[in-house]
Amino acid sequence: MTTPATELNSIIGSELDSDADQFLTFVLGEEEYGVDILRVQEIKGWDSVTPIPNTPEYIKGVINLRGTIVPIVDLRQRFNMPEVEYGPITVVIVLKIECADRDRIMGIVVDGVSDVYDVPPDEMKEAPDFGSVVDTEFVRGLATVAEKMIIILDIDHLLSGNEMQATDKLSA
């Protein structure tokens, strides 16, 4: 007899581990990034946005998410990676951001969604300090799954109000 949980396990291809945090991973170019799955509100295909004037380039604009105005950030542009044409698998991951004063809903544009992994807390490595080469403040840690490095993002820091205003140059 298969319970929904085991079914889910077979779908996502990993054992549910109560201690481990689950991360949704997505790809940007060759790199794989992860975000806490509990923060993911929904995943939707790229659709046109309403641009907001006089905002940084990486703010693509706002969309109507069932009556809520949600800003959309292009993560490639945010990381100063080369832009790519949006295609059929380009997706928007809608995330809940916890700021000091309140929660916000924001969407990030990524190349595609990859997988869901369990990462036990003790397997998460701290990101080495790259000095000024790479700003690692938005990296919560690095995890290795199937010999692959996954960059776990600190989305609160990455998408908080202050960071969004700053037009600092990040490279990833």
Partner: protein, 699 residues
């Protein structure tokens, strides 16, 4: 228990407001019994509630105030200005204490002790008086009577409010020897008996020298829920039975309300019952504002869905091949849906609307206190209190209003001597008026005081360098200077106003609500402050315009007209900005696409569409590519999930589900002024971004 605290605080604050209002309305020397009763009831329920929740400090303090009120209620103590003032102070103290219990913090123990001391002194000072008056009022109530005959007939539903007659009888037993006779004639057959109803009544004989007040105190909580009669036994019952009935001056209205809602809250909150009696206020329920907002959001969604359906329906019906009776019905149905949706939206919006009396009710107290402090005589007139506006707007307009009232009393209305010398009546008049005008609410605050001394304002402005030595200003411009930060003309600084902060804050606050404030004044005759505010912050009548590829919403209130640009009316200034000659004035031309960094090219403006707008008293023409529909839009904040963006006041969702941004006209004019227009030969990019665009331009 915790869950009831919120309700207790809300009801108590309401009760305090009622007390304050009634106290201010009390006609000293000829006090209306019903008013005193209302005040007493409010105090009493606050005392009871705070005792129940263990807020002993409030309970103890309120008890003293209540004693004073009780004496007034019984006619033992005359209502004097002194006691009314003291009671008003007590209301403040109680409010402070409640706030401390609610939000934490430290109590101002000295102040509490001081006011309490004064209350006790007032009570003590004429205790002799009291005693004799008591005799008088007690009429036939002989202190040495042999005892009392108490007829206690609880109403059927008394038990449900948590009151137990047995406990009352026990309490009576503590006052003296009692003999009870229960009347069980009302008792139904066992099968019909509802254990939650009370069917018994008692005749109780209390022997000894218990005071009548002590007896009625036992029945304090249930006086609305029972028929109670207390008679001295010494045969006085025949002579004056009615005067002794302790059925305190409760009107039938109160009794019926209490019966209609036999819950503990209703029974123990006479404040509510009292307010419900006023003809102007109707029955209401308490609902969390978040629930209302949720409904408003959902209705907003509904409106969008309806618009979408309407659009599709219109397209289908336009198609000849579908023309049949089903189609007709569909179109009919859609029209009905549109009507219904609109009505729902209007009704839901009205939930958030409250009469402005919520703001005006703060003013009488303020005027009372300030006029005392400043030794001025002021008569307050309020008009249009029923005018409704959105709760959010209401919350934010309170403070600016208070400041304007302070200002009018401090600087506007003169002292009685000055007024007499100026040939005016001794008592000044402050008038508050509110009315609807278009989609706005207008609040006028006028006084018949000295008005604005233009010369002094101008001198001060010159001294501060705000106005050049030889500059001449129109009267309106001089009056407007008082809203400038750092300009106070009060000759002496007082703790009422005059620190030179305030009027600018007033204007800022009102502006942030999308409103405006201006002053008209004739020296020697007084001043009128006129505040204009949008009725609601939730919806807006907008003109949809197209700029480039995007649709924007221009608030209809800020649009004066829309015209087609005639090149012969167009003038350049310093080769940088364009000015447009509109009849007899020149207005700056704002290219919306430039301001928003969407397009840095400078095509000819000839024959293009220009929306003439006004924001903050400045006019400007905004160049747009097309004028689209006019429609009511639901305002959504950009700050909820993002942040404030200059030149935009929010966003909305259009019928097709896409997002359109709402222009903030004053903000845009400000942006235009600060940044200047990009100079045609070498466009300065507004935010330093999008350097690619400039490169393209150059190439």
């Amino acid at each position: 228990m915790q869950q009831f605290h919120q309700t207790f605080f809300e009801e108590s604050f309401e009760g305090l407001d009622i007390m304050e209002n009634e106290l201010l309305n009390l006609d000293v020397g000829n006090a209306d019994n019903e008013s005193i009763n209302t005040i007493f009831r409010s105090a009493h329920s606050i005392k009871g509630g705070s005792g129940t929740f263990g807020f002993t400090a409030i309970a103890e303090f309120t008890h003293v105030a209540e004693t004073l009120l009780d004496e007034m209620r019984d006619g033992i103590r005359p209502v004097t200005q002194e006691s009314v003032d003291l009671l008003l102070k007590s209301v403040d103290v109680m409010r402070d204490m409640l706030t401390v219990y609610k939000d934490g913090g430290d109590m101002d123990a000295d102040n509490i002790a001081e006011v309490q001391g004064k209350l006790e002194k007032l009570l003590g000072s004429d205790s002799a008086n009291t005693a004799s008056a008591q005799d008088a009022s007690a009429n036939t109530a002989n202190e040495n009577s042999d005892g009392w005959l108490i007829t206690f007939r609880p109403h059927t539903e008394m038990l449900r409010t948590g009151n137990d007659p047995v406990r009352m009888i026990y309490a009576l037993a503590e006052l003296g020897e009692i003999e009870t006779k229960a009347d069980i004639s009302e008792l139904p057959a066992f099968t019909d008996l509802n254990p939650e109803d009370s069917f018994l009544s008692w005749e109780i004989t209390l022997k000894g020298d218990a005071k009548k007040e002590d007896i009625s105190e036992v029945f304090d909580w249930v006086e609305d829920e029972c028929d109670l009669d207390i008679q001295p036994i010494s045969g006085a019952s025949e002579t004056a039975p009615s005067t002794d009935t302790v059925e305190t001056p409760t009107t039938t209205a109160t009794t019926t309300t209490a019966q209609a809602a036999p819950t503990p809250a209703a029974a123990q909150a006479p404040a509510n019952t009292a307010s419900a009696k006023k003809p102007t206020e109707s029955a209401s329920i308490r609902v969390g504002i978040d629930k209302v907002d949720e409904i408003i959001n959902l209705v907003g969604e509904l409106v969008i869905t309806q618009a979408m359906l309407g659009q599709v329906g219109g397209e289908i019906s336009g198609d000849e091949s579908h023309n049949n009776s089903h189609m007709e019905k569909l179109v009919e149905g859609l029209a009905q849906l549109e009507r219904n949706t609109r009505e729902i939206q209007e009704s839901v919006m009205r939930i958030r609307m409250l009469p402005i009396s919520f703001v005006f009710s703060r003013v009488p107290r303020l005027v009372h206190d300030l006029s005392g402090k400043l030794n001025k005589k002021v008569n307050l007139v309020t008009l249009g209190e029923g005018t409704e506006l959105d709760k959010t707007v209401m919350e934010k307009i309170g403070d600016p209003m208070v400041h304007l009232v302070r200002n009018a009393l401090d600087h506007g209305i003169e002292t009685p001597e000055e007024r007499l010398a100026a040939g005016k009546e001794e008592t000044g008049t402050l008038t508050l008026n509110a009315y609807h005008k278009g989609g706005n609410i207008v609040i006028e605050l006028s006084d018949d005081g000295a008005g604005i001394n233009k010369e002094r304002v101008l001198n001060k402005a010159r001294a501060n360098g705000l106005v050049g030595e030889n500059e001449t200003l129109s009267d309106d411009a001089i009056n407007d200077l008082i809203f400038h930060p750092g300009l106070s003309t009060a000759e002496t600084l007082s703790d009422v106003s005059g620190r030179g902060v305030g009027m600018d804050v007033v204007r800022k606050n009102i502006k942030s609500l999308g409103g405006s404030v201006r002053v008209d004044s004739n020296e020697g005759e007084g001043a009128i402050f006129t505040i204009q505010l949008p009725l609601t912050l939730a919806i807006l009548d907008g003109q949809l315009v197209r700029v480039g590829e995007e649709t924007f919403v221009v608030p209809l209130v800020s649009i004066i007209e829309s015209i087609q640009v005639k090149s012969n009316n167009l003038n350049g200034i310093a080769g940088k900005a364009d000015l447009y000659k509109l009849r007899d004035e020149y207005i700056p031309v704002i290219r919306a696409d430039n301001v928003f960094g969407m397009n840095n090219s400078f095509e000819s403006l000839n024959d293009r569409l220009m929306v003439v707008v006004e924001g903050d008293g400045h006019k400007a023409g905004i160049i747009v590519d097309d004028l689209l529909a006019q429609q009511q839009v639901v305002i959504k904040s950009l700050e909820t999930n993002y942040q404030r963006v200059d030149g935009l006041s929010g966003a909305t969702i259009l019928g097709d589900g896409t997002v359109a941004l709402i222009l903030d006209i004053p903000g845009m004019i400000e942006m235009f002024k600060e940044k200047g227009v990009p100079v045609p030969p070498a466009p300065v990019n507004p935010d330093g971004n999008g350097s690619d665009d400039i490169a393209d331009e150059a190439a």
